[in-house]
């Protein structure tokens, strides 16, 4: 196993259930089913998958922001480890969570307009983090800390922006303000949930560059949730691919793109239109659509869309295991080796 001293966050067999009421009927939907991965200090981990695969629910579980009591962590642990201490976030009391959230672990969201409060100024919102987590600071210290942060995230003329409301800022600026709030207490872990999806490409480039620079300066670890494999390739050290509430593949970025070992990852990589490939022609596709949590069977969640699926796949859930020579390259497929051999033959 991975050296325990080196991990900062260890998610072990995380299961999350949603309890839904439909009239008189109560249904329990398993949204996450045995999600495991680990995060090292300073690492950028990409969490990828299509809508509904459970990547945002994973992030919300780590932040303990699941909509309770509807959503519950039913099994598993989320271990935050620092200086030999290990804390299970999933079992933490609310007061201890408050100390953790926004302080040691921070999060930025896709839509800064909905995540920022429209009736507070930029200064009030960024300063709130200090009021909560650094109560010893004076008002003057807070203001200069806010100014420094705004400057650091590349907001031009920060003094004049202090009194601005979110609607007076552009999308890129709002995202910078969110990043400033998240970094206020120099967290160990930053969870970024599709932070650039709502932005234009040239603004996305600015924000990605900013995040990389800040990571180098502060040494924080980033969990980057995205559906854009291009962003993953440019930014992440390691990638976790999710499908139907489970981890289907997990590997170092280079290894994942070189030798995708789960049929879903292969399909995903083939179906993105790429700028550097020849133009005009049919794209390869993954037929069918993502099954809803209710439709998942006891076998592999991808079996109904997989071209290699056999009866075994429908009956038995494949474990996440090492494939190939690298210890860090894991995939959850019964036939990963066979498929890779076959693909080599085709080439």
């Amino acid at each position: 196993m991975v050296d325990m001293a080196e991990t900062l966050l260890e998610v072990e067999n995380l299961c999350v259930e949603f309890h839904l009421t439909d009239g008189d009927r109560q249904t329990c939907v398993p949204v996450l089913d045995g999600v495991s991965f680990s995060l090292e200090p300073g690492q950028t981990l990409g969490l990828v998958g299509e809508s509904g695969c459970g990547k945002s629910v994973t992030a919300l579980s780590i932040m303990s922001l699941l909509p309770k009591p509807m959503a519950q962590v039913s099994e598993g642990r989320i271990l935050y480890q620092k200086k030999g201490n290990s804390i299970d976030i999933a079992a933490l009391a609310p007061e201890e969570l408050y100390r953790m959230r926004g302080n040691r672990i921070a999060m930025i969201f896709q839509e800064p307009m909905t995540a920022l409060n429209p009736v507070y100024t930029v200064e009030q919102q960024v300063a709130e983090v200090f009021i909560l987590h650094r109560p010893e600071m004076t008002k003057k210290e807070r203001r200069s800390a806010v100014l420094e942060l705004l400057h650091k995230v590349g907001i031009s003329d920060p003094e004049s922006r202090l009194k601005a409301y979110p609607h007076q800022l552009s999308g890129g600026m709002r995202q910078r303000v969110m990043i400033a709030m998240a970094l206020a207490c120099r967290p160990d872990i930053l969870i970024a949930d599709e932070p650039t999806t709502a932005l234009d490409v040239t603004i996305q480039a600015q924000i990605l560059e900013l995040m990389q620079r800040l990571q180098q300066e502060t040494g924080m670890a980033i969990i980057f949730i995205t559906h854009d494999l291009g962003v993953v390739a440019e930014l992440c050290d390691r990638v976790v691919v999710m499908y139907g509430g489970r981890v289907v593949e997990s590997a170092e970025t280079v290894s994942l793109f070189d030798m995708p070992s789960h049929p879903y990852t292969m399909g995903l990589l083939r179906s993105i239109p790429q700028l550097n490939r020849g133009s005009k022609g049919r794209l390869e596709t993954v037929e069918g659509t993502v099954p809803s949590p209710e439709e998942r069977g006891r076998g592999c969640g991808f079996a109904n869309r997989c071209e290699y699926a056999e009866q075994l796949c429908r009956d038995l859930l494949p474990p996440l295991r090492q494939v190939g020579v690298l210890r860090t390259h894991l995939a959850s497929c019964h036939f990963a080796e066979k498929i890779n051999l076959q693909k080599k033959g085709d080439r």
């Binding site: 490409v201 280079v254 239109p273 133009s279 659509t289």
Partner: protein, 328 residues
Amino acid sequence: MADSPLLQVEHLYHSFSVGNGFLKKQNTLQAVSDVSFSLAQGETLGIVGESGCGKSTLGRALLRLYQPTSGTIRFLGEDITHLTKKQMKRVRRKIQMVFQDPMESLNSRHTVYDILSEPFAIHKLGTTAERIKWVDELLTRVGLPTSSAALYPHEFSGGQRQRIGIARAIALQPDLLVCDEAVSALDVSVQAQVINLLLDLQEQMKLTIIFISHDLSVVKHISDRIAVMYLGRFVELAPAEELYHSPQHPYTKALISAIPVADPKRKMKRIVLQGDVPSPMHPPSGCPFHPRCPYAAESCKVTAQHLAALDSDAIRFAACDRIKLINN
């Protein structure tokens, strides 16, 4: 006739007036400025640009969903810019549109049959029996089971809903299809399916397509030629492959370099543009790109730039008179 373009757009302008309140100062927002291009039968023109660059407005102006402020649109040689509503009805059979969000563009209280037979009803085509048959054919054509006809839009997934949107657009066998961010809301694996469907339909029905999107990778995949828009203007127009391999305009260069590529080993120098897109209410003087352009000179602040041919064959166009200087 074979050589005459299907669609010809000349110096098209469209502006919105904003802040039309009592005692309020009225402002104009120039959404589309001086756009000219022509489109051959069976061709696919991609239009890319960032939000607010006017690409959707342009798409809608082409269908006269917005009345252009000035300029002409010729469709099959006929000037359609000033046709009456009644006369437009005839043209609309031939020009159809696919929208981004099928949940919003499909009536949620209508069944798929209602939605798909409406074009026939509007144009008084066929008997009920024929319409039922046509709807079945349309569904098969876009890869949906014929049993879908009795269902409502909310009973479908996003990709399937977009297929319904496409089926409605091709119902009257149009010549020109304007797709406004038609695949942007879909997940990659579903997006690929819908792109393939569009390519198949284009081949079967000899469709001409204008494909509007902010996603250059998708646009490049589907288009023969690509126009890059910035603040209402075309800044570059070129064949897809060439635009990607040798972008000429500084904005196109930055746009292409900013797109993340799914290849971790490729380390490309990213050109990061400073600042945001200026507001179209107060566009910068001269070349609208000059405040963000890494090559801007004093003259760019004054001289307006127009799309001009870069080669003698008039295949590539760009709106920058310093291109030769910059690229040497």
